[in-house]
Subunit: 308 residues, 2 copies
Amino acid sequence: MINKLTAKIKKTGAPIVVGLDPMLDYIPEHIKEAAFAEYGETLEGAAEAVWQFNKEIVDKTCDLIPAVKPQIAMYEQFGIPGLMAFKKTVDYCKEKGLVVIGDIKRGDIGSTSAAYAAGHIGRVQVGSKSYLPFDEDFVTVNPYLGSDGVNPFIKVCKEEKRGLFILVKTSNPSSGEFQDRLIDGRPLYELVGEKVAEWGASCMGEDYSYIGAVVGATYPAMGKVLRKLMPKSYILVPGYGAQGGKGVDLVHFFNEDGLGAIVNSSRGIIAAYKQEKYEQFGQKNFGDASRAAVEDMITDIKGALENR
Amino acid sequence: MINKLTAKIKKTGAPIVVGLDPMLDYIPEHIKEAAFAEYGETLEGAAEAVWQFNKEIVDKTCDLIPAVKPQIAMYEQFGIPGLMAFKKTVDYCKEKGLVVIGDIKRGDIGSTSAAYAAGHIGRVQVGSKSYLPFDEDFVTVNPYLGSDGVNPFIKVCKEEKRGLFILVKTSNPSSGEFQDRLIDGRPLYELVGEKVAEWGASCMGEDYSYIGAVVGATYPAMGKVLRKLMPKSYILVPGYGAQGGKGVDLVHFFNEDGLGAIVNSSRGIIAAYKQEKYEQFGQKNFGDASRAAVEDMITDIKGALENR
């Protein structure tokens, strides 16, 4: 799957991923009104609004981008109907040829991680039959439990040719509280990064490993160090745009070949129509605003990479 | 909710929680056959088997215990039907008066943690209506992202009188890989434990805080230290029984009042009928085997606490 991701990044010239994190506040009124008219102001109604919103954004951007990253929490908050919209979104994006990164940040003791891995990137056995329940291409994983919490995910990656992005240095303001603490003079995130490189070595695609890392756009200096520590790992970079990261800050997340990183924007793309910059599109044409925001993001990152 | 948990522990005399982590391998053949006859060897069939299995165990043990801890991964692996069985299990356990600890180990950046908190222990707004999607009483939370990943959960705990158990020192063999690393001469898990005490101070019930910690039964010496660092926090102790922990090892997880800890057993209870010790019950009477295993566990832990 890492080979497919790399090929799609090369083809689109866009090392970016659109974060499908649909808060109800981001969804235009006419979409919500239609959904609530059909299902009422219910969890089903919210899920329908989320799904219609996602579909329009995917339809309007899928030719420009290699991948999407639905954040499962935004669906899980609406209970079972929300999770059905998550699954529908995953399936639809795959139909459209997109690589799907399930942002699930799971991680547990061995047997439990094995169940998460089976459910999200693998298959589960029921009697004589097997199923791929959520069927994402990549998932994000939390490393706090150590190797035996991560290994079951790696095992499934090998079997099913899927991939991981393991949290190394997250984009949020308090990520340093534990991740930056010094251990033998080096921050914890570097130790986790070294582990990612080690785990990744056992899972190589053509040029890059199936095992990548998450490093926030909001910490570019750390990105530079981690890039060198994990030369064969893709870095998934959240925090672009709304969280504060800019293209020029991100060049050191990439390798010399212009690959090795994929930058996520969620709110900045999916709620673009709410920004002054794109307000001429109007609420009804929110998908076109998202397309314009994707084009601007590609220009920003490409420009930064060309001028580095 | 911590007051309810404490009251129920006092009433039952059982500081224990039954982990409802139903692997298909644990489920007796007659349950699976009936479920597959109705739904086929499908995800729905697996979910029905899980639900029927849980129901029998809850029916046979609910008068003896204060709480259950369904591990959501074991349901999530069966996709949407699995998660429907999770929700049905949560609702049923609450009907039976049990405190429900959702073992979800979520944790993300602020806005995303807020969505998880709303979905699991809080309410979500849809237009003019609000819903409690999963409606657990407590959830487990992963602290790797620091305070701003935990605070949204704490906010919901205050609003809705729910509670948390935050991962401090997990029960798995490689938990030390990151958690035991020394920072200024002290292991990371102690720093996380101190944070739990700090977060908990803002959320006090009568005698204990709404914010507890997870510390594995497999690390009793660390449990002793952490008990003192977090005097007002309940400790959820996984790893009893099948993972190796015994009652005598667990006394130091408790305060002098005999409270402050709740010990989880999953496989040791729900798959008790598979152990030589309980095989006289037979597969058909697996619920009675679980009841006997609960009684033995209570005796073991009570005995250890009385003899300390």
